[in-house]
Amino acid sequence: MRNRKFFAFGLSFALTFGFLMLRRMQAQDKAPSTMTSIDPYLMDRDAEIAMARSAAPPSVAKDATVMVLGRHGYETAVEGKNGFVCVVGRSWDAPKDDPSFWDPKIHGPICLSAPAVRSFLPIYLKRTELAIAGRSNTQIEAAIIDGIAKGELPTPEPGSVSYMLSKQGYLNEGVKGPWRPHVMFFVSEIDPKSLGSDLGNDVPLDAREETIGRYTTVDVPVGNWSDGTPSPQMTGGH
C-alpha cells in the first residue's frame, strides 16, 4: 500500500516536471531571444527598393519615399514628395511569442500614408533599432510598451492607412506568401467585433487588436495586386 502511494507520488512529480520542462523548451523553440546576425535580413538595395514600391499602386509608389534596411537600421534610399513612405518590413514587427519573430524569410512590403508615417512608422523603426542592438524579443516589446506609456512613441493618427498590394511579400509561415492584396489602416484601440470582424466568414474585412502598440489594424482585401493583375479569392485572416 505504501509502495503504491510512493509510486503514485513519483509518477505525478515526474509528469509535472516533464510537462514544465516541455513548456519551457517549447517557449524557447517559439522565439530565440536575440538576432544572431543582421546578414540574413539584408537584401540587394535595388531589389529592396523595387519590392518596397510594389506595395502600392504605381501612382502612389512612384512619388513615395523609400527606406531600405542597412546594417545600422533603415535608411532613406529614395526621397519622395507625396508623404507616403514605402518599406519592406521584417519579422521583428510580430508579437514577441510569434515563432517567426526572427524568421529572415519574412518580408512585408508596405507603403504608409503620411499620418501612418508619423504615428506608426516610429514604432517599427524603434523595434528595428532595438533588434539590431541585440535586444531580445521580450526586451523589444517591453521597450515599446514603455515608450508609448511615456508618450515617447505615438499612437495612430486618424487617417493612418497603408497599402499592402505586393504579390512579392512573405508575411508569415501561415500564409507562406503575400496573403491577399489589401488596404490596411490603423485605428486607436477598438474592438474588432465593432467593425464586424470575426462575426462571420461573410464579412469582407479582418481586424486585429495590437495590444502592444495600442491600436487595431483593419485589413480590407481588394481586387488587384499593385501591378494591376486580379488577386485570387481567399478566405481567412493573415
Binding site: 486618424p158 467593425l195 464586424g196 462571420g200
Partner: protein, 335 residues
C-alpha cells in the same frame, strides 16, 4: 496646348451637368467639383446660362403693331398690288426675289438656329433639372415596411445585419422598425444625403441601404437623422446648411469617432441615376482631410473619395474601398 490644370475639361463639366458622362467620369467630375471652388463657380455660371435659356422666350406683341407701322405696311402693300398689275410678269419674278431669297435665307437660318438652341435647351431641362425641388413625401416613402427593412439589412452580410437595429423612413422621420443587439444600425438613406449641390438631391428614386457600425451609429447616423428632419420640416438648402454648421459649432453634431465605418454591399440599392447600385463597398469616415493623404482617386488606387460631405458643410471625409462580393455572397462584376 491646353493650360487647364483641372482633371476635367470644361466640356466634360458641361456634359456632367447635363448628365451625359459615363458613371466613372461622372464620379470623378463630382469629386473634383466638390473640392474646386473655381469649377464650382464655372458650374454655377453654366447653370445660370442654362436657366436663362430655358426662361427666354420671344416676346409677344401684346399691344399689336403700332399704327404708324401698320399704315406704312398698308401703303406698301397697296403699291405692291398696283405693281403686280402694271409690271411685266418676268420683272415681278426677278427684282423682289433677290432680296426676298436673302431675307428668306436669313429667316431660315434664324429658325434653324432657334430650333437647335431650343432642342438643346429642352434636353438640358430634362436632365439637369429633372429633380429641381422636393417631390411629394409619398415618393420617398416605401409603401411596404417589410421591404424597407429587408433592403436596409441587405447593406451588410447576414452575420452583421441579422442582429442590427433597423430604421425605416416614416412621415415624421426615421423610426425604429427592429431592435438590434450588436450595435450596428441599418437604414435606407434617401437622396437628400447627397451633396447639397448634387443634381439628384431631390431624386425620389434614390435608395441607399447602409449598415453603420457602432462608432458610425453614434457619430454619422445623427447627420442622416438631422438632414431628414430638416427636409421633412420643409427647410431650404441654405437653412439646412446653416443648421448643420451650427450643429457642429455647438457640438450637437460631432466629428467621426475612430473606426467609424459602414457597409454598403446591397445589390438592390439605387445610389443615383449615374451609378445605379454601383459596386459593393465599405466606407470609412474621418475628420475632414485631403484625399491625397490616402492616395484616393489616383488612377490605379483601390481607394476613392466619396464627396458626400467633404466640408459641404459637414467636416467629414469618406473613403470608399470596394469589395468583391455583394452581401448575399455573389461575386460583384469588376467596375
Amino acid at each position: 496646348m491646353s493650360t487647364n490644370l483641372h482633371p476635367i475639361e470644361h466640356e466634360e463639366l458641361m456634359a456632367y451637368l447635363d448628365g451625359e458622362l459615363p458613371a466613372d467620369q461622372a464620379s470623378e467630375a463630382l469629386s473634383h467639383l466638390d473640392l474646386c471652388a473655381e469649377c464650382q463657380t464655372l458650374a454655377a455660371d453654366f447653370r445660370i446660362v442654362s436657366q436663362d435659356l430655358m426662361a427666354w422666350e420671344v416676346e409677344s406683341q401684346e399691344g399689336g403693331i403700332s399704327s404708324e407701322i401698320d399704315a406704312a405696311l398698308g401703303e406698301r402693300l397697296h403699291k405692291r398690288e398696283a405693281a403686280k398689275v402694271s409690271l411685266p410678269r418676268v420683272r415681278i419674278g426677278v427684282m423682289p426675289s433677290r432680296w426676298g431669297w436673302a431675307g428668306a435665307l436669313a429667316i431660315v437660318c434664324v429658325a434653324v438656329g432657334m430650333t437647335l438652341m431650343l432642342t438643346s435647351r429642352n434636353r438640358n431641362e430634362d436632365r439637369s433639372t429633372a429633380y429641381p425641388s422636393m417631390a411629394s413625401i409619398e415618393q420617398y416613402l416605401m409603401p411596404d415596411r417589410n421591404s424597407e427593412i429587408a433592403l436596409a439589412r441587405s447593406a451588410a452580410p447576414e452575420s452583421i445585419s441579422r442582429d442590427a437595429k433597423v430604421l425605416v423612413l416614416g412621415w415624421r422621420g426615421y423610426e425604429t422598425a427592429a431592435q438590434g443587439k450588436n450595435g450596428f444600425v441599418c437604414m435606407v438613406e434617401r437622396s437628400w444625403m447627397a451633396p447639397f449641390n448634387s443634381a439628384e438631391f431631390w431624386n425620389p428614386k434614390v435608395r441607399v441601404p447602409q449598415c453603420f457600425n457602432p462608432a458610425a451609429a453614434r457619430s454619422i447616423l445623427p447627420l442622416s437623422i438631422k438632414r431628414t428632419e430638416m427636409v421633412l420640416a420643409g427647410l431650404s438648402k441654405a437653412q439646412m446648411i446653416d443648421s448643420i454648421k451650427a450643429g457642429f459649432d455647438n457640438k450637437e453634431l460631432r466629428e467621426p469617432e475612430p473606426g467609424a465605418m459602414c457597409y454598403m454591399m446591397s445589390k438592390a440599392g439605387y445610389l443615383n441615376d449615374a451609378l445605379g447600385h454601383y459596386e459593393p463597398h465599405l466606407m470609412f469616415y474621418f475628420p475632414l482631410t485631403d484625399k491625397s493623404s490616402w492616395g484616393a482617386d489616383l488612377p490605379d488606387s483601390p481607394v476613392t473619395l466619396n464627396p458626400q460631405f467633404q466640408g459641404g458643410p459637414e467636416p467629414i471625409t469618406e473613403f470608399v474601398v470596394a469589395v468583391d462580393k455583394w452581401s448575399d455572397g455573389t461575386v460583384a462584376p469588376v467596375m
